[in-house]
């Protein structure tokens, strides 16, 4: 098998295993990363939301926040499936965009 195909299989396996990145922290009762709290979480930590943050934090609402698919909460199993699905979507979009950029960047060297 070609090297590239083998490596893609590796990426696919990682995407399928990605829910481990949700389940293992949940087993340990760990939250998000340090310094990445939402405005509400920060209010619980320091008692207020900094004024500038209040405004900026609402600037962008992503379609699949925290790697979850839209819809009601479905427990750890459902969230794991959503996490895996967003991994697949994210990998596909990221790889596609990087590929297009690379083709565009290397367009002068096409024949080589």
């Amino acid at each position: 098998m070609k090297t590239v195909s083998k490596l893609w299989i590796g990426i696919a396996v990682l995407a399928l295993l990605s829910p481990l990145g949700l389940i293992i922290p949940a087993l340990f009762g760990a939250g998000g990363a340090w310094g990445e709290w939402s405005a509400e979480e920060l209010r619980d930590l320091i008692g207020y939301v900094p004024a500038g943050m209040e405004k900026l934090s609402r600037l962008w609402s992503s379609p699949m926040p925290d790697y979850s698919v839209p819809g009601p909460r479905r427990g750890l199993f459902g969230e794991s499936l959503g996490y895996m699905l967003t991994a697949v979507i994210g990998v596909a979009v990221t790889a596609g965009l990087a590929y297009l950029l690379a083709m565009w960047a290397g367009r002068k060297n096409r024949q080589q």
Binding site: S18, G35, A51, W60, P63
Partner: protein, 223 residues
């Protein structure tokens, strides 16, 4: 390590866009001159790997989590300029589609993880691995040390950018307007978990993948 919107004031995120933009420009120019289109799939693979490895959150004492970034592994295989583009693409998609890292903080996050992380990882690897055989153990050790240090460079930069906010941005009453914690809190908080856990994870992942490639696809280590 993905700074969200609202943690950096305009002066900081503006400056970091200003610092990162020339690196994006130079990296594109460099790829334009050196990248062959048959290499495009490898850039896509690198970006995809970076995206997915960052989803593997690892819990750490104190109730927070962190993850590896794959930056050094990509830099070892593709060089620093392709890495800057590949990891930046992953960070842009993470911010836009999944709200992981802010839009205003993209300059900062790309600088910390893709630019500084990529250049540090590649540089340290090249110095330690200099002159060694493609299949040598020294390459693995070099990549592991580079990955460990590179992730800690990214973490330290993140901590400094967060920690200077209370100094730079205050309301007339003296309350922080953006990230509230001072350097004396942000640096220990970020570095402890990266020095003792996430950096080690990054080093192990980098060495394991590289060892597999040394055995089965040594051509990929020719760079």
């Amino acid at each position: 390590m993905h700074i969200p919107d609202g943690y950096l004031g305009p002066a900081t995120y503006g400056t970091l866009f200003g610092i990162t933009a020339p690196f994006w420009g130079y990296a594109s120019w460099k790829l334009n001159r050196t990248l062959k289109s048959r290499q495009a799939p490898y850039l896509a693979l690198g970006a995809a790997f970076s995206f997915v490895i960052m989803m593997f959150n690892i819990p750490v004492l104190g109730g927070t989590t962190g993850h590896a970034t794959g930056t050094t592994l990509i830099a070892v295989l593709l060089g620093p300029w392709a890495t800057i583009i590949a990891v930046s693409v992953a960070l842009v998609i993470q911010a836009l589609l999944f709200g992981d890292g802010g839009i205003t903080a993209l300059g900062a996050n790309c600088f910390n993880i893709a630019v500084a992380g990529g250049l540090a990882g590649w540089g340290i690897y090249r110095v330690i691995a200099a002159g060694s055989d493609v299949r040598s153990k020294r390459r693995l050790v070099a990549a592991a040390i580079a990955a460990y240090l590179s992730l800690n460079v990214s973490a330290l930069l993140t901590a400094v950018e967060l920690g200077v906010q209370p100094l730079l941005e205050r309301s007339p009453e003296g309350q922080p307007l953006y990230s509230p914690y001072p350097l004396t809190i942000t640096i220990p908080a970020m570095l402890l978990e990266h020095v003792f856990l996430f950096g080690v994870v990054e080093a192990v992942i980098t060495a394991l993948v590289l060892r597999y490639l040394q055995k089965h696809e040594p051509e990929m280590l020719r760079l």
